[in-house]
Structures are given as C-alpha cells and as structure tokens.
C-alpha cells in the first residue's frame, strides 16, 4: 500500500506524498478498512491534486496519499459507490472543482446552488411534507429540513444547509489570522483556534512551550464542559422539564464566567495565538478554577440524578432517535455522537496526545438513542472536570516558562495537519504551502461534516414531535459545516 505515514500535528514535505494514478488510488482505498478524515482537492498548475488522508486509530497514525486529476477530465468513477464513508467528501469535491463522481448515489449540492437542490420525495397522496427553516422560531442557525410524513410518523428527513457559506477556506489562504479561525464556528472557538495555531506552528517549524500547550488544553476541556452543560439544559428545555433547563443554564454560566477570568472573553476568544497563548493561569487563578469546577461538578451530579429519576423525562429520552451501530459505521459518524452509537473514537487518546497519555480512557455503554446522547454528555463533563484539575496540577511545574515563542515564516512546500477533539468530535485542519512559502490551500473539516447525515437517519420512523429532541441531542454545527 502506497501511503506516507505521519502523526498528528506534524509537518511533512509536500513533495514526499506519493502521487498515484486515480484508478490505483481507488483500488487502494477499496482494499483498506481505514476511515477517511480528509479528502480535498487543491489547484496544482493545470490540474487538480486530490489529497486523501486516512486515519489508523489503533496505531495513532495518519496515512496520506494523493492523485493528480487532469482539469479537462470532468468525471471519475465514484468511490462512494463501494464505500459510503466518502459520500460527503465526494459531494464537496464536486462542488469545489466540478469534477463529477460517476455513480454517486446522492450527488446533491453541499453549500451552494441551493435552488438546484432536489429533495427526495415520497410518492402518495396521503403523505405530506413539512418544511422547517431556514428561519426558525428560536434564535438558532439557519438550515432547511424537509420531512416526509404520514400523520405523526416521519418516514424520511432531508437536510439542506449552506445558508452561512462565507468562503472561509479561500479567506484563510489570503489572510490567515487567529481572529478568522475563532470566528468560523462560534461555539468551538478554542478548538478551531487551537487547530489553526497548531497547523501554522507546524508549517513554520515552531515548537511552543509546555506551559502554552497545557493552558490550551485546559481551555479546550473547559469549553467542552461548558457547552455540554448548556446542551443538557437545552435538551431538557425542549421536553419542557423546566427545572433541569434552569439549573443547567445557571451552572454553565459559572463555567464560562471562569473562562472570562482567564482570557477576558467568556468563550475564550483571544486566548490562543500562533506561538502560544496570550494569557497566563497563575496559582491563584488555578485554585479559583478548581473551586468553581468542584462546585459545578456537585450541581451537575445532583441535577442529573434528579432528572434521570423523573419518569416523564426518561420516557421521552429512551428509544428516541435510534441510530444503529451499522449505520453509524457506514456513515463514518465521529466524536460524541459516534461514541453514543458505539463508535469508540476519541482523537485525544487515539492520536496519543503527550498529556492525555497519562489519563484514563473510560469506556461508555452506548444505547444509540437520545438517552445515550444525554448520558455521554454527563460522562464527558465529569471526565473533563477531572482532566482540567490534573492539567492544572501539571501546569504548576512549568511556571517559569514563557507564554509565547516568536513567530517564524512558513517552510516552503509543506503539508501540515492538526486533529483536535472539539466538543463535537474530531476537527481536522490541513494546510499546504507552495514553493515560495505562501499558503496555497487550507482545508477544514468540522465533525458536523460527518454527522449531519446521521441526524437524517436518526429521525426515521419516529414521531415528528420528537425531532427537536433529536436535533438538540445531536447539536451539530451549521456554520462549521457551511464554512
């Protein structure tokens, strides 16, 4: 098998990546059972170079390969035909470079040309369609959902996104900055900024201090805690369990107010920069964080116990929105949603992060329904709080180090990638530089890119009034998908 094997957060020489003929690539991909984490095209002179990155989660390695496609070749034989895990990647590739995958079973627009989107329709006069969005009654992001229903039962759901397509990838190549990276997805500020900064540091060959690395990870885990607590409250709000909604809402504020004390922004904007971090966590602040998190942990534990005792809540959560293990595997669901369906992927542990190596990786008993998605958030909150405490303890040893190292120029002809476990799942940033040391391509894959189709599958054969519960349980990013 012809691949270049690399690790997470590594820079390799762009020209070292093997370039093979497309049909060989296709056969190679068909022969392996590793999943794709990145699949994108890049302008390469007169042609298009297709990069494919596969993940070997057991060994913690990433396998890169590429293929050169002539621009005049307007089509190729689709890989999705044989392996459904590539379905979204091929649709995106078609939309960006107009090279058609022949035989793709679901070739529809991803982010643009929404007027050309043809929805799947169920024949029969007795069925009706329910169209929800893009404007929703609550203050949430725009997206269009098309349900095929008969009575109260949903037989199919199709989701059309792209309303917030801002052309981030092109902007990133022209004017890369931390501020841009933070603003791509407003609820994953730390994760996006961390992935971006790591990619930039790899491309420049910069080695940041341990202190900065630890502070970044503390912020990442705190972001995870805060968002998960907010989600628990939102899920309970959707089923009208007011007590839970209010308590979790208040508790989340405690966590993000602590983030405010660290970085001056409740969501952590401005904390991370290329070369390190901008703010320090000294001994007093560290103690304060630990106290707040202990308090939060107690409240969350108490409230969750009370919630799970309530039979009305449990009757809503159990057996709602089930996604089977087979479908989850077929669609390559990642992150928290994948773990709640039995797909045990966590890039913090799979790619052997130097600090997480010492932490215990606990297993989760997945039941694939909304209850599972509720429980996994609870589990990750408790875990993240303990991780923060351990990371802060480690931080004490690096008190004397600098926060930042000086910024260097990019190394020409480089290929770097960074996989960060944001609270939704694996976030992948890939960047390449050209011969003059300028950025030539920046590719982002949000975990929602894999997971949106899972939501369509989860709602099938459920009542339509259970859809908001499924949607909140998944809580996927619209703007992270739309880029």
């Amino acid at each position: 098998m012809n691949y270049y094997v690399m690790k997470n957060n590594q820079r390799i020489n762009l020209l070292d990546i093997p370039t093979i003929e497309f049909n060989t690539l296709r056969a190679q991909l068909a022969a392996t059972n590793l999943r794709p984490v990145s699949f994108f095209g890049s302008d390469w002179g007169q042609n298009v170079k297709l990069f494919v990155v596969l993940a070997d989660d057991e060994k913690g390695e990433l396998l890169v390969v590429s293929s050169l496609i002539d621009k005049n070749v307007k089509e190729y034989e689709s890989i999705t035909k044989d392996n459904h895990q590539y379905h979204m990647f091929e649709r995106e590739f078609y939309e960006q470079f107009n090279i058609k995958p022949l035989g793709h079973p679901w070739l529809k627009p991803v982010r643009k040309n929404q007027d050309d989107y043809e929805f799947f329709e169920m024949e029969g006069e007795e069925t009706h369609q329910v169209a929800v969005g893009p404007i929703h009654a609550g203050v949430i992001e725009p997206g269009h959902f098309r349900f095929m229903c008969q009575g109260e039962k949903v037989y199919n759901l199709e989701i059309m996104l792209g309303y917030q397509h801002r052309g981030v990838e092109d902007l990133m190549v022209k004017k890369p900055s931390n501020q841009l990276a933070e603003s791509i997805c407003g609820d994953s500020v730390i994760a996006y900024n961390m992935a971006y900064s790591q990619v930039m540091e790899e491309l420049s060959g910069m080695e940041i201090t341990n202190k900065a690395k630890l502070i970044r990870r503390v912020a990442l885990e705190m972001e995870r805690t805060a968002i998960h607590i907010g989600d628990l409250g939102a899920i309970l709000g959707d089923i009208a369990y007011q007590m839970g909604k209010e308590v979790f809402g208040v508790t989340r504020t405690l966590v993000i107010n602590t983030m405010l004390e660290i970085s001056g922004s409740r969501f952590g904007r401005g904390l991370i920069t290329v070369g390190g971090v901008n703010f320090d966590i000294d001994k007093d602040l560290s103690k304060k964080i630990v106290d707040v998190l202990n308090n939060v942990k107690n409240t969350v534990e108490k409230m969750t116990r009370a919630t799970l005792k309530s039979s009305t809540v449990m009757s809503r959560l159990e057996k709602t929105g089930v996604v089977s293990n087979e479908i989850a595997n077929e669609l390559n669901l990642v992150g928290m949603i994948g773990r709640s369906c039995g797909i045990n992927l966590d890039s913090r542990f799979d790619f052997c992060d130097e600090f997480y190596k010492d932490f215990e990786r606990k297993s989760f008993n997945a039941t694939n329904d909304a209850y599972s998605r509720f429980r996994i958030r609870y589990k990750e909150i408790i875990e993240s709080i303990s991780f923060v405490k351990k990371l802060l303890k480690k931080l004490e040893g690096y008190e004397k180090e600098d926060l930042c190292v000086p910024v260097k120029n990019f190394i020409p002809n480089s290929f770097a990638l960074s996989v960060v476990e944001s609270w939704r799942g694996e976030l992948v940033h890939v960047a390449t530089t050209d011969g003059e040391g300028k950025l030539s391509r920046y590719k982002i894959k949000d975990p929602s890119f894999n997971n949106w189709y899972g939501l369509s599958m989860a709602v099938r054969n459920n009542g339509i009034s259970d859809f908001p519960l499924c949607n909140k349980g998944f809580d996927l990013s619209y703007c992270g998908f739309d880029l």
């Binding site: 369609q129 329910v130 169209a131 009208a240 809503r316 259970d466």
Partner: protein, 309 residues
C-alpha cells in the same frame, strides 16, 4: 334584585378580566420555581392591549374563513361562559340541559378554529389542528358522562347539579367529587395546552398543539384568540370551583373561596409545568384517556349510590 345584579356583574368581571391574572399567576409560579422574579401579573393584560393596537398581516393563501374565525372563537367562548355558574350556583343564563348547549357552543368555536388553521395551507397548522381534533374526541364524551352522572344524581338538569354533591351524598359524594375534579383538571390541561399535554413556552412548531394553530394570526385576531383561550381556562376552573365550594355560605365568603380556588389552580398548573416534562405525543393520548376512565368510575359510583348495589 340587587343580589342578582351583583352576581351578574361579578360573573362578567371574572369572565373578562380573570384570564389575564390567572395566566400571570401561572407565569409567576414558574418563575418562582426557576429562582427568578418573573414578569408582573399584569403583563398578559398589557400584552393583549398591545396586540389590539397592532396591524395585521394576512396570508394570501387564506380566505374569508381566516378573517372570520377569531370573531367566532371569541364570541362563542364568551357566550359559553355565560352559562357557567360561579358563586351561589348563579349563572347569567340558567336553563335545563345547560351543559349540552355549553359544550356545543364551545364546539362551534373549535370548528372554526380548526378550519381557520387549515386555511393557511401550512403543514404546521394542519398538524396542530389534527392533534386538537383528536383530543376533542376523547375529552367531550368523558365530560358528558361526568355531567350526566351528576345530573342523574341530583335530579337537576342545570349546572346546579355540580353543587353540594358532597352534602347530599356523603362518602360517595367525596369520592365522586375527587374523581370529577381530577378529570376536569385533565380536561383543563388538554383544552388549554399546558404541560404534560403541550408546552406553552416552547418555540418548536413541530411539537405544539394550540399555539401552532394561531401561527399566522396577528394583531386584533391574535388578541381575540388569546383572550378567548384565557376565558376558556377560567370557565373550566369555575366548573372545578363549583364542585368544591359548598352552597349556603355568605356572599363574601363565597367570593373569597372562589378567587382562592382560581389562584390555587393556577399555582398547581405552574408547579406542574416546572416539575414534569412534556409527554411524548403517543403517550399524551393515553394521558387524556385518564379522563375517560375516571368519568366511567364517576358514573359507576353514581349508579351504586342511586341504586344501591
């Protein structure tokens, strides 16, 4: 007849003004359980006044039905309220067989509300209308059974049969009153869309029953419909009050107990909304069937009392 005039005025005042305050108390109770101060109890009144001043947006898909329906809903609800006794068994219109005409007047309002919702051609509103229509088929027969049993028990064809059930029937009376009150409470939760049947504060159209039927109404139409829904809640609370409050106590005490019952029921609804989650749609039907089963038990208890089995 001064007394009758006072009672008539009291009935009308309660019908027109109590809806706002009852909803205000429910919101205050929910705020209390959330640890918040909450809006003032006058806020629903201010909101309705504000709606009266607003312009309307009318959908091009709708026809005369949409324009017409809010007026019908409001008039029928108010008129139905005239049949309901509040204190001392006094109702403004008192006639034998009142509960039948009461139900059918409300049914007329409901019919227009349903076709007005379907008129907009929106699948949300159709969804709400279909759920509403199905719940009515469970609620109405149960209501009729309860009232028919009470009529047979007291020999009085009017709503006065609700009064003094305990006094005339001893232990059976207590059981019957408890079951009837719970049944009417479930009917209140269903007709007025409270938790666990529906969540009135939700923004999710796919889960709503009543609110989604009025999604396209605006301005004075919306004001009339919200007011009418509040009046319906007060009417059902008044029926419950009639079962609980004994006759023959003085005017002042009756008024006090009546108002206290309204407040207490509002607080109970608010507490229930804060403490339990909304049921899955298929389970809501089972919940409403509680009303039918209790109604049948009330009928059996009445039979046992009358024919001594």
């Amino acid at each position: 007849m001064d007394n009758n005039l006072m009672l008539t005025l009291f009935n009308i005042l309660i019908l027109l003004l109590a809806p706002f305050f009852v909803i205000g108390i429910i919101k205050k109770t929910k705020a209390f359980w959330s640890g918040r101060k909450g809006v003032s109890i006058f806020q629903p009144l201010f909101d309705t006044i504000r709606l009266f001043k607003k312009d309307r947006t009318i959908s091009t898909t709708t026809s005369w039905v949409f324009n017409f329906a809010p007026a019908v809903v409001f008039v029928t609800t108010l008129l139905a309220g005239l049949f309901v006794p509040m204190i001392n068994c006094y109702s403004i219109i008192n006639v034998a067989g009142a509960f039948i005409i009461f139900s059918y007047i409300l049914g007329l309002g409901k019919f227009f509300a349903l076709i007005s919702a379907m008129d907009t051609g929106s699948s949300f509103e159709g969804m709400g209308a279909s759920r509403e229509a199905s719940f009515t088929t469970i609620v109405e027969p149960a209501f009729f059974i309860i009232l028919a049993s009470l009529v047979a028990l007291s020999g009085n064809y009017t709503f006065a049969s609700l009064a003094d059930v305990i006094k005339s029937n001893g232990t059976f009376g207590i059981l019957i009153v408890i079951l009837a009150v719970v049944s009417l409470f479930v009917m209140l939760l269903t007709e007025c869309s409270r938790v666990p049947v529906d969540d009135p504060t939700t923004h999710l159209e796919l889960t709503m029953i009543h609110e989604v039927m009025i999604l396209d109404n605006s301005g004075i139409d919306l004001a009339l419909i919200t007011w009418a829904n509040g009046i319906k809640m007060v009417i059902l609370m008044a029926l419950i009050a009639n079962l609980i409050i004994p006759l023959g106590i003085g005017f002042g005490l009756s008024v006090g107990l009546f108002l206290l019952t309204l407040v207490l029921l509002a607080v109970i609804i608010g507490t229930l909304e804060s403490g339990i989650a909304r049921l899955r749609m298929s389970h809501v039907f089972e919940f409403v069937f509680v009303m039918s089963s209790f109604a049948l038990v009330v009928a059996s208890l009445a039979a046992v009392k009358m024919y001594g089995i």
